[in-house]
Symmetry: C2
Subunit: 204 residues, 2 copies
DNA sequence: GTACGATATGGAGGGCCACCCCGTTTTGCA
DNA sequence: TGCAAAACGGGGTGGCCCTCCATATCGTAC
């Protein structure tokens, strides 16, 4: 999310060189984060982008801001998915499907979890464009529907669910067999530990 | 867990000054971690303990090792609790109670989560004394009993449960109202999201 | 096409940190 | 009491994040 894009006329449309560097930094950050996770060195990102560290800091005053910019597109995809699923005839299934999609995105984009969770507190509350706000709004509808259809407990908030999803992904992030684990834990979370009658083979 | 204590005769019983410094570092680390969390500066810990930073590194080659040493006692408490609960007539309740206790310890000891989770992979597998191994073993019995009593699904491993508990605590660690959240999420996890009939007031 | 002010840049430097080398001190045993 | 082995810690190295400010670049008005 370039602060002032060319298409949306803002106070100052952002100079060409500034925009170029902005994009370079974003690309470099995406690479670095994919390799080293959300803790990737900001200096190395600047180095990769071929800009000075000061430039990086000017464009992204905090690591959080950079993460949000890097993942903005992916979060938009998730929001779009939520919008589509809102038409699903089975609200419970829609919610579960969407949470699964969120989880999949998070595990395959190291750092996304951090990006989604943080910013709930420290960032400017006026900006509804933070990853956190976007995803929360997108999920709220799905949960509401599921709740009204009586396939979700009414005392559960979308924040709860997203926190759990993120928590699972975070916890599993450094496990070797990540993705597989997430699926199990996620369904486990959704169905609960209590008995269910049916049986399956024991793992680990 | 001093590598070689005075009571348990080891290869070399550890010199007096070494033991003294070891204990000082441990105490200083406990303080620092309580204040600043698991990311506390190692140099500051050394400074507090009145030793050189090299000494700290000699005793604890990695941050992980230090965390494990600091939390070793608390983990032992949890293991003891597990042993007691093994006598509980209601295995399902025992398991839930214990997981709650684990969560409470984790939230009230910043860094414990990290200590419990890590070390599953990077530490010497021969050493069964890591926090991770200790807690896993302690919980396995409780889960087994619950499973046999048909109050826990057989396809759930203790690793799953502990991962989830830790995940919740990690995710909530930087929330302002931490402890309260953990309770909700934990019970949510244990009962699952699926409808249950009963109602409660909606939060957030 | 040019000149000029606003804007953006990046290298240098400060403060902090983890980690290691190696000369010095302490310890415990004979 | 002497002495080798063990432990110590100051200081060096390299990395990190972040800021300052002299310099280079851009967009525009003429």
């Amino acid at each position: 999310m370039p602060p002032a894009s060319r298409t949306t006329p803002h106070p100052r449309p952002m100079r060409a060189d500034a925009r170029r560097n902005y994009d370079r930094i974003l690309a470099a950050a995406a690479e670095a984060i994919a390799e080293h996770g959300a803790e990737a060195s900001l200096e190395e990102i600047a180095r990769r982008a071929g800009v000075g560290s000061a430039t990086l800091h000017r464009h992204f005053p905090s690591r959080q801001k950079l993460l949000e910019a890097v993942f903005h597109d992916k979060v938009e995809v998730l929001c779009a998915t939520a919008a589509e699923l809102a038409a699903d005839p089975d609200p419970g299934h829609a919610l579960a499907t969407w949470l699964g999609a969120v989880a999949r995105h998070v595990v395959s984009n190291r750092g996304l979890a951090t990006s989604l969770m943080l910013g709930a507190h420290d960032s400017d509350p006026a900006v509804g464009a933070t990853c956190h706000a976007m995803i929360t709004n997108a999920g709220a509808n799905l949960l509401d529907r599921a709740c009204r259809a009586n396939t979700a407990r009414p005392d559960v908030s979308i924040t709860d669910l997203l926190t759990l999803v993120n928590a699972i992904c975070l916890a599993v992030e450094q496990e070797p067999d990540g993705a597989a684990q997430v699926d199990r834990l996620l369904t486990l979370m959704l169905t609960g530990v209590r008995p269910a009658g049916e049986t399956a083979n024991r793992r680990r």
